[in-house]
Amino acid sequence: MSTPVHELTKQQSILVNSTTTSKFNRMARVRLTNRLFKGYFLFSILALCFVLALVIIFIGKTGFLTFNTLSFSEFFLSMNWAPEEDHFGAGLFIINTMILTGLTLLISVPISIAIAVFNAEIAPNWFKSFIRPVLDLLVGIPSIVYGYLGMTVLIPFIRDLTGESLGDGMLAAALVLSLMILPTISRISDDAITAVPKKYREAAYALGSTRLQVIFKIVIPAASRGIVTAIILGMTRAIGETMAVVMVIGNTAQLATTLFTPSSVLTSNIVMQISNVEFDSTWNYALHMMAFLLLAISVLLILIIRFLRAKGVKEA
């Protein structure tokens, strides 16, 4: 945009002053615009912080009301969620969330790292420039689309394959989620692997390594921090994903004992029940507490990423 004021040399400003006698000259206008924009930028970031603080305070405040009527241990450890009979054990949702996330990572991490390695190390340039935009596009597909495909294509397929009569459950949800986070993980790992200096590889080849040895012993360890960041980013998406999960998991408050048991996780239970609860009830508070828990988990994961990055910068 305009030239910043402080970059004008004294000579120039004298020149400006001598050519125009008006008080509202170019200098003053530039200064005013700069100040206005500074204010606008500051306002933007403060507004965001304010909203974030409001979210945390509101969710937390409502959530912790749960413990007026409920003990900590019942909420976190009990496996019995039956709000209509005053049982609010969220333990099963927490465990289900962990199972689902674990299963999702188990499926998606090996595949997405393989994609990343192929893209960064093996693929010819024309293929790279084709596959990268495709992965970027996959990241942007709305989750409801994945959920709908899961419900109409994947579940009937699972039903035919296994002979189950319903087919909803952990396996379906994990498969849909894997597909969703796969592009995220592989794109970021791809960048991390590409960023590994070429001299590392050349040194390894010079010492007589095979291509596979270079990839597994040099490149992946060197890019490991970036890959872990990618996995955690994928994980946050998997934990917080709601719509796609709701459509394929079966939404029944019970522990997922098999891959095909209809069950429910933190997010899907909140979205299923929040519109049907009374405002001032333990049920409502418990749902808010579950939302707060999700918030806490993502904050924790983000902190881990920051920590890893800081360490990486120091070592480099």
């Binding site: 305009s2 109409t152 519109s275």
Partner: protein, 285 residues
Amino acid sequence: MKLFRRFSILTLATMFVLTSAVAGSASAASSLKGKITINGSTALLPLTLQAAKEFQKLNPKVSFAASGKGSVTGPQAVSKGIADIGACDWDASTDVPGFKAFDGQVANKVAVIPFATVVNNNVKVDSLTTEQLKGIYSGKITNWKDVGGDDADIVVITRAFGSGTRVNYQAKALGGGDIVKKSKNYKEVASSGDMKTAVSTTPNAIGYIDLVYVNSDLKALKFNGVAATTDNVINGKYKIWSYGYYMTKGQPTGATKAFIEYVQSSKFQTTTVKKMKFIPLSAMK
């Protein structure tokens, strides 16, 4: 900079035009004015929106803010003073399973909503009795052959606890009986649309839904031998239906009163209500 200035001029111009437009529409002649906020059942929302549109033509000074969520949010919003009208699929001034009565609220009937028991098209059974349905939903009957169908597991699909459809179905079709969670072959869905998709795509599934959603994708069962049709609801043979209510805090007044009267008027009931596949109140006398 130039771009910025141009934008701000554009914004100002737009705002000016909008303000004058709003002022213009409000200046048309009508005695009633005010804002009516309506909250609650999604089942009644299409009817509410249509009614608001027609009512606004007659009374341009009345504005509407209507939104749909769960049934129970309707009377709740009314008791908190957020909404003037709470749309609800049951009479919230009385106790129903799971929800206490809302004190001091008046239930205004606005339409009749029929519900149907639906099964996947592959199910051979055509009719179920109250006892059989009770058995299926309480988990005692788990195979279609026990109710005259093929040898196949019954997949129970139900709405989440608190849904207006579920409250009514439990009361009318299951005689107040429980819906028991089973470990397998049991699934909860969030809305009528999801219910339709789930039942029509899952073989051997049974569920329940507003009658307006029933089409050739799934099969509506007879209840105690009576087909689920609007005619059978009107002549009193088919029992699974309920009134849709507009809950208000005390007796409605002003614009709210006029609006409810408009919805209950025979002109609106015989045209729009019928067109939207609800049953007019007058037909039930």
